[in-house]
């Protein structure tokens, strides 16, 4: 039973990070019908920037408590990632808005490669250790353990998601985003500046990814320039699982995928009589994707994709 | 025109969520007829077309082509069975040449596959030549033979319509189903179209067509079915349809009795 609770906790932690990243994918797909391939790498940039900030703080202000370091790291990583994503949209994607679908996809892959290359050049090729900042005692829940960092991650993720829901449902910008996500042309006719909305969408997604990146580093204690690839792809699978374009779908899909991966990795050995082990964990996201797209392509909550007729 | 029934459809129902698009619609067309389907906008004409050609799945209905039941489950199966259609918003293969468009129409009546493509043995070459020849023949038949090597999307609107008809004829259909072929045409073009359709009928083909131009339909069709709100409100020869009170009401409103 302890293992079970532990798996659940691990799954929630993993799932929160997937949810944060998935939101970026789903929002951009909702307004542009584009898979921003580079989004996972934006998360990586957040982690890298956060690490650099923390290293800097630790050398110039060693007296600062761990959570302050972390807070400042996030506070710097978020605008940094927003800037990166906005630049990417402006330079690489804007001109291809009406191009046949292949061109933006290839461009996005190219951007992803470029981000990784720049990260490689700036931060080097080897994995970098991420310091333990919250060194308090882990919390015990029914025989399972959850670290302070992980608790913080859950809290931050929850806050971010609540904040996003508020933004989307209650603010003018949020309304504009929903309008553009449904029908960009008509939204334009109603006076909504679609370009600005799209920029905001990219920015918000990047901010969430930055949080996920910094916390990923804090949780796994090591980051590298290829960090974003696999979690990015899995987060997209989570977005599809929940219903692409649907932000509630991304949240639910992310958490669900985290749980599936965690429980799956824990029990796959038993389920397959020892034939498959926990190192097959990475498959789950893709298997889920294939299943969802074959059985119920609109996902759990239903997709919300722009009518681009 | 003889007495064989080419198309016999009965009891078609189709619902889209809360909207009952078709209620118990049926049609019977005899060999060699030009059969018209008219009705106000939203009556369900194109929906009915899409059902009988396999684009939409009906909730119920029986479907018989040339005496044999056919299943409108998939568009390509319907084409193979012998119904060829054109589209309201012309759907050509715009970047292919005019000739190639019609050659694609021959696909369903030819069968060279990977082996023939790679080895180009005698049978494959013969088939390819016959596809090409037949395509040119059809282009000449509809009157655009001289444009064979032009890129399809550069054709004039009227010629594009002709091309779509030629392509449909290439499938050797038992029934040619045309969805608003005269849409967007002026009087001269409509006249040419009428002549082409008569020519097609003379060639022994059966035609089902949806149209809005009542005058065109009256002069062209042997029989007409009128739909309104997904139901059949009248069926008969043009002369009777024009006088039918329900039809008049459907088009012009109750006050114009």
């Amino acid at each position: 039973m302890d293992t079970f609770i532990q798996q659940i906790l691990n799954g929630l932690v993993l799932g929160s990070m997937y949810a944060l990243i998935a939101l970026g994918y789903t929002m951009v797909y909702g307004v542009l019908n584009l898979i921003n391939f580079a989004h996972g790498d934006v998360m990586m940039v957040g982690a890298m920037v956060g690490l650099s900030v923390i290293m800097l703080l630790q050398s110039v202000a060693p007296g600062l408590p761990g959570y302050a370091d972390l807070a400042i790291a996030i506070a710097v990583a978020v605008p940094a990632c927003m800037l990166v994503n906005v630049i990417i949209e402006r330079i690489a994607y804007r001109r291809l808005r009406n191009a046949p679908r292949l061109a933006p996809l290839i461009t996005a892959i190219g951007v992803s490669l470029l981000l990784q290359t720049f990260a490689m050049m700036i931060w080097g090729r080897s994995p970098l250790p991420f310091p333990q900042l919250l060194s308090g005692e882990p919390i015990q829940i029914g025989g399972a353990v959850i670290s302070q960092t992980q608790v913080l991650l859950l809290v931050l993720a929850a806050l971010a998601m609540v904040g996003l829901v508020f933004l989307v449902e209650r603010t003018k910008m949020g309304r504009a985003m929903r309008a553009v996500a449904e029908n960009p042309r008509v939204a334009g006719l109603m006076g909504v500046n679609a370009d600005r909305v799209i920029v905001a969408t990219f920015a918000i997604g990047a901010g969430l990814a930055a949080v996920a990146g910094v916390m990923w580093g804090a949780n796994y204690a090591s980051i590298t320039f290829t960090l974003g690839i696999l979690p990015g792809m899995k987060a997209f699978c989570a977005a599809v699982l929940g219903g692409i374009g649907n932000i509630y779908g991304a949240m639910i899909g992310g958490i669900l995928l985290g749980l599936i991966e965690s429980l799956g990795a824990g029990y796959i050995g038993d389920l397959t009589g020892g034939f498959l082990g926990s190192h097959y964990q990475d498959i789950f996201a893709f298997v889920v994707l294939i299943l969802v797209l074959t059985v119920r392509p609109s996902g759990i909550m239903g997709e919300r994709v722009a009518d681009r007729a | 025109m003889n007495d064989t029934t080419i198309l016999h459809i009965a009891g078609v129902n189709k619902r889209f969520g809360g909207l009952q698009a078709l209620t118990d619609v049926g049609i019977e067309i005899k060999q060699g007829q030009i059969y018209g389907l008219i009705g106000p906008n939203g009556a369900g004409k194109t929906t009915f077309f899409n059902v009988i050609t396999g684009l939409y799945q009906p909730d119920s209905g029986t479907f018989e082509l040339d005496g044999k039941p056919y299943s409108p489950s998939a568009p390509h199966a319907v084409a193979k069975a012998g119904i060829a259609r054109t589209f309201q918003n012309i759907r050509l293969f715009g970047e292919m040449t005019v000739l190639e468009n019609v050659m694609v129409g021959r696909h369903v009546r030819s069968h060279q596959g990977v082996f023939g493509a790679i080895f180009r043995h005698k049978a494959a070459r013969v088939e390819e030549a016959s596809i090409r020849a037949r395509a040119q023949e059809l282009l000449d038949f509809v009157g655009i033979g001289q444009f064979a090597d032009r890129t399809a999307r550069f054709l004039s609107y009227g010629d594009q319509r002709r091309l779509e008809i030629a392509r449909a004829l290439a499938t050797d259909p038992k029934l040619l189903a045309l969805d608003e072929p005269a849409a967007g045409m002026n009087a001269t073009e409509k006249n040419s179209l009428r002549e082409l359709l008569v020519k097609i009928r003379q060639d022994g083909k059966t035609v089902l067509l949806i149209e809005h131009d009542v005058k065109l339909m009256m002069g062209l069709c042997d029989r007409i079915t009128v739909l309104e709100y997904g139901k059949r409100i009248a069926e008969g020869v043009p002369a009777d349809i024009v006088k039918n009170p329900a039809v008049i009401e459907a088009y012009l409103g109750a006050a114009h009795q």
Binding site: L293 | G94, I118
Partner: protein, 402 residues
Amino acid sequence: MALLNFNVTQNPRRAYTSMAILLALLLVFPFFAAQFGNSWVRIIDIALLYIMLALGLNIVVGFAGLLDLGYIAFFAVGAYLTGLFASPQFATLLESIVNEYPVVGQSLIAIMGPDIVANGIHLSVWAVVPLAAVVAGFFGALLGAPTLKLRGDYLAIVTLGFGEIIRIFMNNLNEPINFTNGPQGINLIDPIRIFGVSLAGEQGSNSTVMLGSYGMPSVNAYYFLFLALTIAIIFVTSRLQHSRLGRAWVAIREDEIAAKAMGINTRNVKLLAFTMGASFGGVAGAMFASFQGFVSPESFSLTESIAVLAMVVLGGIGHIPGVVMGGVLLAALPEVLRHGVEPLQQALFGKIIIESEVLRQLLYGLAMVLIMLNRPAGLWPSPKHEDRPDAAETNKGTGFPA
């Protein structure tokens, strides 16, 4: 491209002359390059394998308009199949079966006989290559059947996922039963033997292949084999493109609904493209395994899938000469960089500022972004409009019109 014109319909004489000239140059090349050492020929051998892959992927992406981001999986299938059936690996596999499932293991040993138990299975190239083609094609059909109806973006991600799944399996199928030898990969794969002559050269001959009394380096022998194979693939794909099937593919790309209405079974036609592309990938994989002598999961990552896709798309999607050019550029590029750029930086700056690995990735990324922004049809696109991607979207869904 005015110098060499390959357009057979436009001017057959010129086209065939161009081809003859090119062929002559290609045949002479290894003897010329030998002046500079074997490594250049080796580089071209690898480049030829990539070109084969690009041509196979071109059937899927270029002809049928299906976006496949996990194409390398079929390459892996072919390579690993060769690894399993043309090396000692099968013996290791049997051993692990005996350890885990003794009953099954013992009966298999009884069937296979002591020779296989000791040495593994060593099928000849004439058996392995068709096997690789068939099995890879089967996987292609397996993947394609449920997924080809998805819209373009989704198909891309699903195929990417499939590629990853294959890689993960190859990396982990070494316990409890050792199929693939895990991260270490499979070693000692047999070189290709044609009519008794091993292309890796005889023992102790310093990799010299003997044809009668004439000897040539092993890399040259492989060069001619791969060149012949590549030419064959170009021939086959070109024939496919200009055929009833090729027309059907264009029709589906242009307007899938109209294509269906004309009687084309779009599902089967798309599946055919996918399966054929997969089997070409499998063949290339078999060649790769035999050439290199070992296979490991690292060679079959997402990066490789993307590299092959880049060759197709940047070279000239759907246009065979363009795809070949893309393959040459992007496959030879890393090596040219390594041999040229690093010494250059060394000479200029006294140290290496940007390693060639980094430079390679940088150039790939820049190429993808810049070319898509400025020449989305590729560097050498098809002169016929219908073969270009802006002629048709590669992701027409199956939604119905009015």
